[in-house]
């Protein structure tokens, strides 16, 4: 039994008709409850709820304050390789795009790590394109050993791995896994993932669970919003998160609501996710999963990020480059365009100015041999 079985059952929900069925009363009932169920989640994602974002926001903020206080954890992604064997129609790193690929040597990783760490950040998200050949587990492990000298928390965003491989990485000092399903709607998934191992929907869907089994402290999942109907995608993401939470109570499950961004190709998303929609998604996530982390990336523009930090967000990236080696050199190809290019001090000051506390360090790697 994996989330795949639940998903195949949930897919039978007649979403299109159902969204219209919900009324203000359903939304208010969900808002009055403390522990929300599937029906409440549907109500909060329905068109009816879009008229009650303020009420949702008030409650979401109260919940966030009581569980997380004013703390917002900062991190930054670090791209070490952009080789990819897949063809996803929405990504610059796709194998069909012809650009000079890069992979950092361990010396370059170290230089990049030192540059990032000098900003005060202690949490890093290590990213590669998806290629077992060019960025194999051994390479990721070597990078982690270098990063351990500079960071107190290391997460990875790489191609799906086996439980044993995840375990090896956890033993090396990786404590967090980020893995986006991209799109939960299976038919759309098949259409958008044209070539490569990523075509295997199920192998990807089960990977976060393997990460939980391997003992990662935190697992971050998400749908790339815009690839399919956002209400349904947000619903599936939240149900996936709850599934993991129910089975792996020791693991902190976080959610990311990334929106589709311009990239090298010409794909245009099917579903337009407006700012209002994004807000509704974040609020529904917070109300449905009161203690989950919610991660906000620099895909969103600065002005919007400044508002969203009050609505339930608990982690955000800062000082971001989506290019391989982007902190020490330039000339790489960004995976996608970012919107908020502010530096770490700028984000820090913005948070203080908003009455929030930037947290640069919120963990100590406890893997063997990692004690500094």
């Amino acid at each position: 039994m994996s989330f795949y079985e639940s998903l195949t059952i949930l897919e039978r929900i007649p979403f299109r008709e159902l969204w219209q069925k919900y009324t203000k009363d359903d939304v208010m009932r969900a808002l009055a409850k403390e522990k929300l169920d599937k029906e409440d989640l549907l109500a909060l994602l329905s068109p009816a709820a879009s008229w009650h974002l303020e009420e949702m926001a008030q409650k979401a903020q109260r919940i966030t304050r009581s569980h997380f206080g004013y703390a917002v954890q900062l991190f930054t992604p670090m791209y070490v390789a952009d080789y990819c064997v897949n063809h996803c129609t929405y990504c610059s790193f796709s194998a069909i795009h012809d650009f000079p690929r890069k992979k950092l040597s361990l010396e370059q990783v170290e230089a990049e790590a030192a540059a990032i760490a000098s900003s005060g950040l202690r949490h890093i998200l290590l990213l590669t394109g998806e290629s077992r050949k060019d960025s194999p587990v051994g390479y990721v492990k070597d990078c982690v050993k270098v990063l351990r000298k500079y960071f107190s928390s290391i997460s990875i965003e790489v191609n799906p791995l086996s439980t044993e491989e995840y375990q090896e990485l956890a033993d090396t000092g990786v404590d967090g896994l980020t893995l986006f399903q991209e799109v939960y709607h299976q038919e759309t998934y098949r259409k958008l993932h044209v070539k490569g191992p990523k075509r295997n929907f199920r192998a990807r869907l089960d990977a976060p669970e393997r990460g939980c089994q391997a003992g990662f402290r935190s697992v971050n999942i998400g749908a790339l919003l815009g690839l399919y109907d956002w209400r349904q995608e947000a619903f599936m993401t939240a149900m996936h998160a709850r599934y993991l939470q129910d089975r792996y109570p020791g693991c902190e499950i976080s959610l990311s609501p990334p929106r589709f961004r311009p990239y090298l190709g010409s794909f245009n998303p099917e579903s337009d996710v407006t700012d209002r929609a994004l807000v509704q998604i974040i609020l529904a996530y917070r109300l449905f999963l009161p203690r989950s982390g919610i991660t906000l990336s620099t895909r969103e523009p600065a002005e919007l990020r400044d508002r969203l930090v009050h609505l339930g967000v608990t982690k955000m990236s800062a000082g971001v480059s989506t290019e391989v080696g982007g902190h020490t050199s330039d000339g790489g190809t960004p995976q996608f365009e970012i919107s908020d290019s502010r530096s770490v001090p700028e984000i820090r000051d913005m948070l203080y100015g908003s009455g929030l506390q930037p947290v640069f360090k919120d963990w100590d790697i406890l893997a063997e041999g990692s004690v500094r």
Partner: protein, 256 residues
């Protein structure tokens, strides 16, 4: 110092322990300390970054405070032990609040793992204050393992729901044979006072102050409430009458 709380070789005049998480800025911490009169402050080691001057939480804590590093983030006894050792190696003293939590939804403590961590750390000379679910047999085991006090929860962390576990905490106070410090759940000064009236040795809280509209005002309110509750406990609460006393004795005729 009259009515001091003795723990780990220290005599504390304040029975209000406070936390450092959840504030909007670390610079509030010294002011909260001053207004609360607190002498013990808990710090999550996971938040401490000695290599960063500006963002280091420890630089906001005055030296006279007793640091109570906690093992927040630990999911097993082994992790808690490692974190405690790291804290001591980082110069944070030998007090430790054991937090072993394997439930990210309600953040409820795992008493079994907590007992295991307490055995190891007490044997290593730590002054161990374990955060726990209020269960008498667990409290007795913690005492036998060498805990300096027990810290039962009043309600889940951050919930501000008050003394939901009042009956059980009352039993610990009567039976556990070591100081009982109510930790987590207290949201109002009246609830802190109530815990103290019951005979709790101290209370620890963070969310109630950190997320108040005016954290400094709330720190002071808790200072007063804890002191009042303690004084009431020492003064001995009068018996509670279930029914009004009859104005004239009903058996007076027997003495005639």
């Amino acid at each position: 110092m009259q009515d001091a709380l003795h723990i780990g070789g220290k005599a504390l005049s304040s029975r209000l322990f406070i936390g450092t998480g959840k504030y909007s800025r670390n610079t509030l911490i010294p002011e909260v300390i001053a207004r609360s009169g607190s002498e013990v402050i808990t710090v999550a080691l996971r938040r401490v970054d000695p290599s960063s001057q500006k963002e280091n939480i420890l630089s906001h804590i005055p030296p006279q405070m007793t640091l109570l590093p906690n093992t927040s983030g630990a999911r097993t006894a082994e992790e808690a032990v490692r974190i405690a050792r790291l804290a001591r190696a980082a110069g944070m003293g030998n007090w430790v609040k054991i937090e072993v939590i394997n439930d990210q939804r309600y953040l409820l403590p795992d008493n079994l793992e907590t007992i295991r961590a307490t055995e190891i750390l007490a044997a290593e000379g730590f002054v161990v204050l374990p955060y726990m679910s209020p269960d008498l047999s667990a409290a007795l085991r913690l005492r036998d393992a060498g805990a300096a006090a027990v810290m039962p929860l009043g309600a889940p962390i951050g919930s501000n729901r008050g003394l939901r576990t009042k009956e059980l905490i009352g039993i610990l106070i009567e039976e556990a044979g070591l100081p009982v410090i109510v930790d987590a759940g207290i949201g109002r000064p009246s609830e802190a006072a109530e815990a103290m009236e019951m005979g709790a040795a101290a209370v620890l809280l963070n969310t109630a102050i950190a997320t108040a509209r005016d954290p400094l005002g709330m720190a002071e309110a808790f200072r007063g409430a804890v002191a009042a509750g303690r004084q009431a406990y020492l003064a001995g609460l009068g018996p509670v009458q279930q029914e009004a006393e009859a104005s004239s004795p009903l058996t007076g005729f027997l003495n005639v």
